[in-house]
Symmetry: C2
């Protein structure tokens, strides 16, 4: 039997996991153990700091509820979610529009609305119009694509945060026409802070980060035969456009509302965005990020 | 604004954490983010696997209670606790006896017993004696050192597991005499499985590990002016002596019970072990591992 030091413990742990039945689980846990041990050695982690880490992770787990997923929030603010998204995009056979984080506020069963409808029940800010065409990568329009959109109000709150969640608001599901076109009305959403009242918020606070996400509209676009596109459009003039706390912004997703004579509702400020869908591999949905129904299950 | 890929997200996350007030927190979180991202890239982590990881960590956090710390168990079975212990030992100005894991079953306020006492209330296995001398590293006896010992019964259960925790059993606190010597009676403890009914047990099961700790007696030794020694003695003939699930065994901590005419109780099989204490640096306690009262707090 060999005496273990801070390096040979790693070999011993890998040896004990050698008989893992699933090769993929083995690969993932081997890498997790190597990086975890290397992290502790790199920073010369003390027992007191180790205990603080245990306490932090315990608090994160215990902050999770059926409607709050603090571990996803931790993954988001540490940039891990964005890394996983980027890896997922890189592996696609072809790329459509860029993806962004799904976030925790997606809801299934939002109202199906006719093109041109207003998704905000009682707007108190100027209406704007979002319009464009859904195409494949060759520019061919995709008719009858489902466009699900959701956003915060002009006060920076989702319906789940403004009300009790019983009324769906600031969301709507649209279908593109035979020409692949869509348009709907909304108000400009306000950027907002991630939840700062939990352990992740306390960490972000200690890191002197603002904790803000820039103003954005979430879009989930799907059509038969295409890779599902989870993305969001970000408003260029938001003060936090360059420092999104969860690293969701890409240049190609930044938009501006402006006068636009080509808009289908020319009296309103308009955002035009054309979404490109990639063809799906057989059996692939391409969903990026988490299925909220699974998230609720994780916290039960 | 730069578009982020799976590498530049790391730079962006480090940049956002740049203003962290505590240099040590910054150092630790920088390393955590670098290793976390590198782990995801190394294994090309998919969104589905990421979600499984989120669900696993959430379940670990939610399995924690005031008397169960599943995150420490996770740290133990992944070898992280042993790495932290080894780092702690390496930094000591001088080394006494080797340390081992404190574990979650230490209790303060165990009965103070006279030398020679039996720590097991109703032994159903042959008595053995554990004896030796506590010295400093030069071999000078340390009088009046406090030796706290705790162990499982001959059935492999701690008092907290056999009873309701209201009676302290299989534990005792002794003081060395003027000559630094101690001895007490016990029974040979049985090795045992870590708790397998939680998410960590499920992982260990999927890794085809036995989940066993070899038979051992915990010892926490302290004396004024010396570094606290948290260690354990392991029985050589336990079948799992070479594959402790939590990597706590060192060769120098392996003992055997044998006939021993030099024993203070020569009719019984005896284990002799001489503990060496290192001198403490000013203000140092040298406690390795976790303070159980803090652990309970972490789970509340």
């Amino acid at each position: 039997m060999q005496d273990l030091d801070e390096f040979t413990v790693t070999d011993a742990a890998l040896a004990q996991m050698e008989a893992t039945a699933s090769p993929r689980l083995k690969q993932i846990m081997d890498a997790a153990v190597r990086h975890l041990h290397a992290f502790a050695r790199d920073v010369d982690l003390t027992p007191e700091e180790w205990l603080q880490g245990i306490q932090f992770l315990t608090a994160v787990g215990q902050a999770c509820t059926p409607i709050r997923q603090e571990f996803i929030l931790l993954s988001d603010v540490l940039g891990l979610s964005a890394v996983v998204n980027a890896l997922h995009d890189r592996k696609a056979r072809e790329l459509g529009s860029q993806s962004s984080l799904l976030g925790p506020f997606y809801r299934e069963g939002a109202p199906a609305l006719p093109l041109g409808a207003q998704i905000v029940h009682n707007p108190t800010a100027p209406e704007i119009v979002l319009y464009g065409t859904v195409t494949d990568n060759a520019g061919t329009p995709v008719p009858n694509a489902l466009i699900q959109v959701w956003q915060t109000s002009e006060r920076g709150l989702y319906d789940l945060q403004e009300g009790h969640g019983d009324v769906m608001d600031m969301r709507g599901n649209f279908r593109t026409g035979a020409d692949g076109k869509f348009h709907f009305r909304t108000v400009r959403p306000l950027g907002y802070s991630i939840p700062m009242d939990g352990p992740v918020g306390a960490l972000v606070h200690r890191q002197n980060r603002h904790g803000m996400r820039p103003s954005h509209i979430h879009c989930l676009i799907s059509a038969n035969g295409y890779r599902e596109l989870v993305t969001a459009l970000y408003f260029a003039d938001d003060p936090n456009i360059g420092s999104d706390t969860v690293f969701g912004v890409s240049q190609s997703l930044v938009v501006q509302a402006a006068d636009d004579p080509a808009s289908p509702l020319p009296g309103l400020q308009a955002v035009r965005y054309d979404f490109r869908l990639a063809h799906a591999a057989p059996g692939e949905t391409g969903r990026v990020g988490a299925d909220p129904s699974k998230l609720a299950k994780a916290a039960e």
